[in-house]
Symmetry: C2
Subunit: 356 residues, 2 copies
């Protein structure tokens, strides 16, 4: 970690002493920033932006110019892997992601390839290298992937879903086939994250956006178990050190104890979960990341500051809290409100780290 000018985020994930709580924000490179919208327009489409390493690098760095964030996160989409598997990702404005060739038979699953990220996802690997180089050690770079379960939902449903009828029917009626699908995705995710680490990612996060639509048992069997396997398969960073890892299962507040045993160094919390109760349950086993309601950023700076004071005090003293939202920032938030959030964390958090 010697090459990092700001290693607050990484030290916090490993629960080492720090002098304030680090902060970054899910979707920090995004539509709420006018400079992002300008590049997005230049790119012509969201997918063009994702697949162009120079532009992906540019938007990844944008929020760091405006705000004192303690980490950068690769600008990409969680559906790059299914796209590389041949499903044909496309976006219709205002409708969310879709696949031209969703999974619809056992045959589809059996013939599904496991992409070599250095080949089929070269644009992501190149973006990671470029971002890492351009960051010049200012803050660590977080790589990421969607979780196998979450990717499977899109691959089987053909896009976003409300009831997850198709993917759950596959799971309920043909669990063996479902496991074959998840196993292939998990292998792909492992390769993908290791390629990002090799290219310079200094931490990785697994986004299990739809883990929370499963029953407690199915969450374990069809989501968490694959997250564990992925964790076990991750390589050390380029300097041979352990890579910090974060698992975020949205809607998983009931399952924190099991998640804390999954091998990840930190758990992402959605805003529904109480930070105090979470820490009471988890103790010092893992770090916690989160968890302000993204809608809070529509409020006035004073209300934002009060909410941040509350969340910081709920985590309480000591290292192990990475401040973040409980989900990605919403598209039309006022950038000044983000500044109010970052400032509040910088100003209000040192009191919880006095012992260092």
């Amino acid at each position: 970690m010697t090459s990092l000018k700001n290693d607050l985020f990484i030290r916090t994930i490993f629960k080492q002493p720090v002098d304030r709580t680090p902060i970054w924000m899910m979707r920090q490179a995004g539509r709420y920033l006018p400079e992002y919208r300008a590049i997005r327009e230049k790119a012509g489409s969201f997918l063009n932006l994702c697949t162009n390493p120079e532009l992906a690098c540019e938007v990844t760095l944008q929020p760091l110019e405006r705000y004192k964030f303690d980490a950068a996160i690769l600008f990409s989409d969680i559906l790059t892997i299914p796209d590389a598997m041949g499903l044909g990702l496309y976006f219709i404005e205002g409708e969310g992601p879709k696949f031209e060739r969703p999974i619809s038979s056992a045959e589809d699953i059996k013939k599904l390839p496991i992409p070599d990220p250095v080949q089929e996802l070269k644009y992501v690997v190149d973006a990671v290298s470029l971002i890492r180089k351009n960051l010049q050690g200012r803050v660590p770079l977080i790589g990421f992937s969607g979780s196998p379960w979450t990717l499977a939902t899109y691959m089987v449903e053909g896009g976003s879903s409300k009831s997850f009828q198709k993917v759950k029917s596959l799971m309920y009626e043909q669990p063996v086939l479902m496991h074959l699908l998840l196993d292939k995705i998990a292998q792909s995710v492992s390769h993908y994250l290791n390629a990002q680490i090799e290219a310079g990612a200094q931490a990785v996060m697994l986004f299990d956006t739809w883990g929370g639509v499963l029953s407690t048992e199915d969450y374990q069997e069809f989501s968490l178990d694959y997250a564990k396997r992925i964790r076990q398969s991750l390589n050390t960073n380029r300097d041979g050190q352990a890579i910090p890892t974060i698992l975020f299962s949205k809607g998983g507040g009931q399952w924190l104890k099991t998640m804390a045993d999954s091998g990840y160094d930190a758990l992402g919390l959605d805003w529904q979960t109480d930070m105090r109760l979470a820490r009471e349950q988890i103790g010092d086993k893992v770090a916690l990341q989160g968890n302000m309601d993204p809608v809070m950023l529509y409020s006035n700076p004073e209300a934002i500051r009060n909410k941040i004071a509350e969340i910081l005090s709920k985590f309480g003293s000591g290292s192990g809290h990475v401040f973040n939202l409980g989900h990605g920032i919403l598209p039309d938030v006022d950038p000044e409100h983000v500044k109010a959030m970052v400032d509040a964390v910088h100003e209000l958090s040192p009191q919880y780290h006095c012992g260092n």
Copy 2:
């Protein structure tokens, strides 16, 4: 309860001995039934169906002709109260409910009337009377209302929502005004449920469909506290006996302990919550209702039966479990699968009530 030929549901809510687990199903009068679709077509619109007591009665009774359900539930919509307050409820096919005049200012909230259900919601009260009469004591009739928080989300957003930006901004920025709104809705809900009880409802359920989008603290302050007040305001049934009450906060699995202290006799569980862990947490304080994933009904009868066996065994021995789905049945389920579910509960549950 002497007039009831089947009081399994009511005895179970009060945790009195029974010889098998009762079952009913959220949205049991609904689109999956061809006989429902026929009446719905005759009515011309969903709202016409809700506002016509004879038709509402007819569809309420339909599922009881097909299945051995242990309760009937009033056919109605949760948005009847805001409609009676003057917001102008309407439906666009495939888009969900909308309001012509959503709440958009402090003035709107201040001038919001508290409807007299006997006047402005006469069609609901009449439907309850008619259903009760036509049931002839076969099974108890459940009345219901949306929770104040859930109704407020629709009233402020103007319909369904994904991020709940408007209603949460009101809550975060103007909590006093939000409380005024919730207080008015809570008073309206109390009057409404008492009118249903007076007309013959033999149990009532509060549907807090969107409680789960709140933080732990906000859930307490803006949802659960109003549910408590409503509980306290409920009258006894027409025979002067305690009215059985059920609270269902979807997504509230983390908060069961607090919910169990809210005065309701039973808690509805969504499918994400584990029935065994829920009972371990709650002990014998309240009854539990639920909680099979509605998507499970797309599976084959054997898989459905296995899942039911699992849920029954998770609750374990003794009274206090009302079998149900973890949310409403989905529109295009095969009615034969519902039969498989009902039969499985009838056949598999007696073993858990041997002690009686």
